[in-house]
Amino acid sequence: MDILNALVAFLNFVVVPGLAYGSQLALGALGITLIFSVLRFSNFAHGDTMAFGTAFVILFTWWFQSMGITAGPLPTALLALPLGILVTVAMVLATDRMVYRFYRKQRAKPIIVVIVSTGVMFVMNGLVRMIIGTSEQNFTDGARMMLNPQDFKAATGLAEPLAIKTTQALSLGAAVICCALLFWFLQRTRTGKSMRAYSDNEDLALLSGINPERVVRITWIIAGALACIAGTLYGLDKSYRGVVYFSLLMPMFAAAIVGGLGSPLGAVVGSFIVAFSELIVTSAWKKIFGYLFPPEWLGDGLYQALSTDYKVAVSFGILIIVLLIRPQGIYGGK
């Protein structure tokens, strides 16, 4: 029985949160990697694009709530999400038209565009602060738990509870649906194929009559929509603060680079690597070990390799290892 309890504790503290966090990262990292493969720069504004989209989702959620519209057991934010996506997509398309297009026409060096994207980051961060402020906003409603720990204990008779929050299940579900749609789109549709062709070889793609502006537009639409979804799920799961999204940049970049910048599959795999590493390194293993080993072996340490404050060190460590050993990433990006 003790092994079962240890397993449940492991599921509860590492697997379930890891799957949820990994899904949220994956949706963000996919956007980063798509922008990289088509527009050929690392988008530092992506974290703040997520914050921007989420801010509008929150505003629409409040509006729905004030009209008495809810989604029953699901968070109302899901109803507001399509509207938020529309605003985010409009924003990134406007940014592209007003800012990035100029540098694309000029064929500016990628690093210049990276600096430009930090300027966009400033603007978006400022807008988010003006729209919704810097304080914490909790916009999660509906049923909190999909699997209630008490129910689980009663049903299995185990000492250790297993809890699955609605938002965690939603994150994983949304990631699966979005990835399936995206991969179907990239592999099967004409537009998706033209996107891949453009990213592989710009000149050849132009020769075969692909309209570059259309490819770029579609990339921004997908990346913006994914950013809004990722940001909303993260905000639902952890509660929303606009400034937090800047610190998501590091794990998202690490995930995209681990998988190989420019490779969508790599971004998804990399996100789960980063998410699980973070949780494995920063969780306290005392409870799990407590079921596996006799107490006199363990002493009174927490068995926590790093405190949760050092989360960023984990994604950074992964990034460093990849840069040292395999800079092109697992799936050989650019």
Partner: protein
């Protein structure tokens, strides 16, 4: 007219400071001037990296923070009890960690590539990490248990904080060496991403490791650098009071202004020294080589220039200059507040200064530092005034309050817009590279 353009630009910035002094107060003006001078030094450091070599680092805040840490280690009050409780053991642990990493690097180079090497090194590093924690943790607990309300750290050497300035530069240079070794020579974006991470880690360490610098409890009462006296000493010093009285000035105001003037002189001297050195370097064979590498890496490499080594060299020099400014800032403020090291304030603001001023031109970096430094700090008192005027027509209510609150956030938006406009319409900046 065009010949004196640069002079006019600097005169314009000087006018801003004079107007601030005349219309608001000289204390405020000098305060902004000191911070702007420090920003200008940081901008020179960033300009060395970006303007000379085209290296984009997003970790400026890390170098600034390391400079601050140097002041703490060199000149804060010694805490003998704290040091005795675990100081040597902590350093032993850090030494062990460094040795373990060095050994791992050595093994990595010695062993044959393959799964066996990966497995062996992973196991080695995991075991080494746990031994490191076993050495470190008890010592940290012991140090932090010592009088946590006032100390709880290992203390510093208690030396003059002028000595901390070069130490700050050295610390930042060491960090730059490590990160440059890893991230240089790959895609340019990787340096930007890696420096973003290392800066965040440095600031996190300073925020959480109470044994080192008291973390978020802040470290106050750091001594002044030589020759700057304390205001309170000036106010009791007859040699200062007599001339002040004969001029008919208020001794309290006069003493604060005197102190700030001293700082401004010191910072100005350092700035001039740096510019002199930078101008010499830029117009030497070394400077031409560096710009040749920036403009065309391949042909420079074909001429036998070691591109990666030069990039590393420049990255280290630039970071050291920023670290120096970071140490100067902390020694002026007399306290270390880790939560104030925000990337927006110390990384991206400095970038705006360099790009607005004119990347590749030392004078441009200084102009940008002074101008944007003034703007950034002046908005604090101008913004609310402006918003007051703009919203005066509105009826009192939620909208008016909201608009007034947003004034504080206007700063970021403005900076972003300025950066984008300059990059688009005047990418060479106010004083272009010759």
């Amino acid at each position: 007219m065009a010949r004196y353009r640069n002079l006019w630009l600097f005169a314009g910035v000087a006018l801003l400071f004079i107007l601030t002094g005349a219309l608001q107060s000289w204390n405020l003006s000098l305060n902004i001037l000191n911070l702007a001078l420090l920003s200008a030094i940081m901008a020179i450091g960033v300009n060395i990296q970006w303007g000379y070599a085209g290296l984009f680092s997003t970790g400026i805040v890390g170098s600034v923070a390391l400079g601050g840490l140097a002041v703490v280690l060199v000149s804060s009050k010694p805490v003998p009890e704290g040091w005795a409780a675990g100081g040597p053991r902590i350093f032993g642990a850090l030494l062990f960690g460094a040795l373990a990493i060095a050994l791992a690097v050595w093994l990595y180079r010695k062993l044959k590539p393959g799964a066996a090497r990966t497995l062996a090194l992973t196991l080695f590093l995991i075991v080494a990490f746990f031994i490191y924690r076993m050495i470190l943790d008890p010592a940290v607990l012991a140090v932090e248990a010592n009088n946590p309300a006032q100390a709880g750290n290992i203390g510093g050497l208690g030396l003059n904080s002028l000595l901390a300035w070069p130490v700050g530069a050295a610390l930042a240079a060491a960090a730059a060496w490590v990160i440059g070794k890893i991230a240089l020579g790959l895609r340019e974006d990787y340096l930007a991403i890696a420096t973003l991470g290392i800066a965040e880690i440095i600031v996190t360490v300073m925020r959480n490791e109470d044994w080192l610098d008291r973390g978020v409890k802040n470290l106050i009462d750091l001594p002044r650098p030589w020759p700057v006296p304390k205001e309170i000493d000036l106010q009791t010093n007859p040699a200062f009071l007599e001339p002040v009285a004969s001029l008919g000035l208020d001794p309290v105001t006069a003493s604060t202004i005197m102190v700030k003037l001293l700082y401004a002189t010191m910072f100005g001297l350092v700035l001039l020294l740096l510019v002199w050195g930078c101008e010499r370097a830029l117009n030497s064979p070394w400077g031409r080589m560096v710009r040749a590498i920036r403009d065309n890496e391949i042909s420079a490499a074909a001429m036998g220039k070691d591109v990666k080594f030069r990039h590393l060299q420049i990255f280290i020099i630039g970071s050291a200059v920023v670290g120096l400014a970071g140490a100067m800032m902390t020694s002026m403020e007399g306290q270390l507040t880790p939560p104030s090291y925000l990337p927006l304030r110390f990384t991206f603001l400095i970038w705006v200064m360099v790009i607005v001023g004119g990347s590749g031109n030392n004078w441009g970096a200084i102009l940008g530092g002074l101008l944007i430094g003034w703007l950034y700090l002046a908005v604090e008192f101008l913004g609310p005034h402006l918003m007051e005027v703009l919203t005066s027509g509105l009826p009192a209510g939620a909208l008016k309050d909201h608009l007034k609150d947003t004034a504080a956030h206007m700063r970021l938006l403005t900076l972003g817009v300025v950066l984008l406009l300059v990059l688009r319409f005047a990418p060479k900046g106010l004083i272009p590279e010759k």
